[in-house]
Amino acid sequence: MTAGPDTEHEPTEGRWATALREIVRGRWTVSVGAVVLAILAGSIMIAFTDERVQEASVYLFARPGDTFTAIGQAVGGAYSALFRGAVYNLRAEDFAGAVRPLTQTLNYATPLIAAGLGVALAFRAGLFNIGGQGQMLMAASAAGWVGFGVDGLPFPLHLLLAIVAALAAGALWAGIAGLLKARTGAHEVIVTIMLNYVAFYLLSYMLATPGLLQAPGSSNPKTPPTPESAQLPSLLGDRFNLTWGLVLSLVAVVVVWWLLNRSSLGFAFRTVGENPRAARVAGINVPRTTVTVMLVAGALVGLAGATQVLGAVTTGFSSDIDAGIGFDAITVALLGGSNPWGVLAAGILFGAFKAGGSTMQASEGIPDEIVLVVQSLIVLFIAAPPLVRAIFRLPAPGARKRPEAAGRRRAAKAAEAADKKEVGA
């Protein structure tokens, strides 16, 4: 492809692209700092909403010890419940029961990692994939339809077919957004958001229509259960919910890492993400790369839909099978710095929040909202790296100054080199 002279000038795009890059490429210290700050802020909220603290604070000056004891109990109780629900249950009778929370965390993390990779990959190519919900719903529908619509296939084949169908459906749904962006310049944020609605109502319709996804004999908007021949087998035996879906997500992490850092396709993705104009000059077909990125990203999000239907919720699903994962994936990708290994860590952290949130509610009566507030605060702090750096007195990264138009290509290359170093380290 030949690159014509650069005639378009979009002064805002450069600024937004820079902001996006700074947000998604923040250092891991900022991520850790954001998590620490969010947990601290969460403690304050837990302390304030706790009834015993409120009662004791009325006579704070008469006997301050009571208030501080109550605060300690509330916050300590909350985070120990989080630990007990997400990592290791010290109260369990045997070892299997004790590590069960950890498997629950990994179970919740499985779709978050897969979908997080999908969003992160799009980020690296400079695309905001807000359509995780729609891509997951379409993938789940496809997996479900193959699961209970196709009869007579033996176990591994049936499962494989269902997974392939889910990946294809996710890729197709995201590909629509990619194609519209490449061909017409439609902004991917708007297109993917709208496709979320289309997918949601399409699924609602299919769930309410006998003969499509609705369970035969029922008039509730729910599908039949996934047959055993299409279920992901359990990874650690029947005592745990953990399935081979986790392994699929881990494989996806490695594949994305390889794709981004060792393949020419990934190089094209990143170059387009860093500077589309420079990429075009360098002979990269930008529209085709955009479509390819969205296809791959959609397939990754589709994997999340597949693990939901074929592993996590096998008793039949309804229209909230996405469980907000499509949006949580954006947070996971941001927290993970759009790096596959970072996404893996962030996915497990969020899985832990989800698993522990249930125990926090059950044993300490802390509303689920607090857990969600902590999650949202993490995003907030990550979106404001200078704030986190100021609080923890972290050094500002040096080579962040954006050179002007003439030097852009050189800067992009320098960033590439820096990336390689980071990954290699």
């Binding site: 604070s57 009325v58 006579y59 704070l60 000056f61 008469a62 006997r63 009571d66 629900g85 249950n89 369990a92 029961g97 629950q104 919740y108 109502y201 609602s204 309410a208 004999g217 029922s218 008039s219 509730n220 908007p221 729910k222 259960p225 919910n241 939901q308 996590a312 919720v313 008793t315 039949g316 699903f317 309804s318 909230d320 099978i321 996405d322 469980a323 907000g324 989800k354 698993a355 249930s358 125990t359 509610q361 059950a362 044993s363 009566g365 509303p367 689920d368 969600l372």
Partner: protein, 363 residues
């Protein structure tokens, strides 16, 4: 700027100091307060669906029943709210590991997860509100330790339909629902049968808008939003003067549509007595179709806590008071006393089996 901040901070500290100057209570023995009111060591628990415990519908009513039962038993209770369907299984599981003896869940959405947990924990008791716990559709409960609580609301809706038909001057009454779930359409269907019964008794031709016996008007969700308001408006525009919105908060959209129309249109409430639960409706609520979720949940949980758990499905009817028609309140003067008497007689006739109300729960 700095001064302003400092001043605000000072004011804040002062306010805090003033409010924190109360006298300390006497020292209590360790763990005093909580253990004093707790006399029973059974633990009753509940998992909500995505609607949450403040949904003004089955989650909330079920939770109130659970709290009342815990008060009767003198026991503790725990609750977990679900954010989406992938939480159901994990939330039930975390209540099991918290040591709950009775677990209350709601709706068809939690049905499969409840059955799974019930089969894995045969020693625990489960109460499932508004679902038969029959996911393989063989007509039997899928686990021996689940008590389904079901409500034949068609019976009460039948009375509401009869009353509405007699009250309507326009000769047209309307209804619409959230989504075509059986637990929603049972209201609409009973309502329609009541109107038809009125017509056959009186030789009138009161019309029902929004439900034809198999299909009708639905908002597509259970949110009080513009779609719900438009749906209500479409029904109102066809000239009805009584409207029955079925599905949690969508009645609020119906009220907005009634206000916009500027006409006098009466509202029929569902689940709880709207006159009591939402005082803003007092001027327009003709009556409410009551669904005794709170009372029946309380009874089931109390029985389980006392060791007399009975997994026989409970079906609320007019006869056992599980469903009923609420009082007329402000509409007492506006409704013909003869009509009120007829409704009372009709209730007796339904209980006696002289008048048949069809629904999926009626044998």
């Amino acid at each position: 700027m700095k001064k302003a901040v400092a001043f605000t901070a000072l004011a804040g500290v002062a306010a805090l100091a003033l409010s924190a100057c109360g006298a300390a209570p006497e020292e209590e023995p360790a763990g005093g307060e909580t253990s004093a009111s707790v006399t029973s060591d059974v633990l009753s628990c509940m998992v909500s669906d995505a609607g949450g415990f403040d949904d003004k519908s089955f989650n909330q009513l079920g939770f109130e029943g659970l709290q009342a039962a815990a008060a009767t038993l003198g026991s503790e209770y725990k609750q977990v709210e679900s954010a989406s369907e992938s939480d159901y299984q994990a939330n039930i599981e975390s209540l099991v590991s918290e040591g709950c003896d009775t677990i209350v869940t709601v709706g068809f959405a939690l049905s499969a997860a409840t059955v799974e947990s019930a089969l894995a924990n045969p020693d625990l008791s489960y109460v499932l509100i508004d679902d038969a716990a029959d996911n393989d559709f063989d007509g039997a409960i899928d686990a021996p330790n689940i008590k389904p609580l079901l409500y034949d609301t068609a019976q009460a809706a039948f009375l509401a339909g009869y009353l509405a038909a007699g009250y309507s001057e326009a000769g047209k009454v309307g209804t619409f629902g959230g989504q075509p779930y059986p637990t929603v359409t049972i209201f609409m269907d009973g309502f329609k049968q009541g109107v038809e019964y009125y017509n056959s008794e009186k030789g009138t031709a009161v019309e029902v808008v929004g439900w034809d016996g198999t299909d009708g008007s639905f908002t597509g969700g259970f949110d009080a939003n513009e779609t719900a308001k438009t749906t209500a408006k479409n029904i109102i525009d066809q000239g009805v003067d009584v409207i029955l919105p079925v599905g949690g908060p969508i009645y609020q959209s119906a009220i907005a549509a009634i206000e916009d129309s500027g006409r006098e249109i009466a509202l029929v409430g569902v689940d709880a007595d709207f006159f009591e639960t939402d005082p803003t409706t007092q001027d327009i609520v003709l009556t409410s179709i009551l669904k005794g979720i709170d009372v029946s949940t309380e009874e089931a949980v109390t029985a389980a806590g006392e060791g007399s758990f009975d997994p026989t499905p409970y079906v609320g009817t007019l006869e056992n008071g599980g469903v009923d028609l609420g009082p007329l309140h402000n509409f007492e003067d506006k409704v013909d006393p003869a009509l009120v008497e007829e409704v009372a007689a009709l209730k007796d006739a339904i209980i006696a089996g002289d008048v048949e109300v069809k629904s999926y729960l009626a044998e």
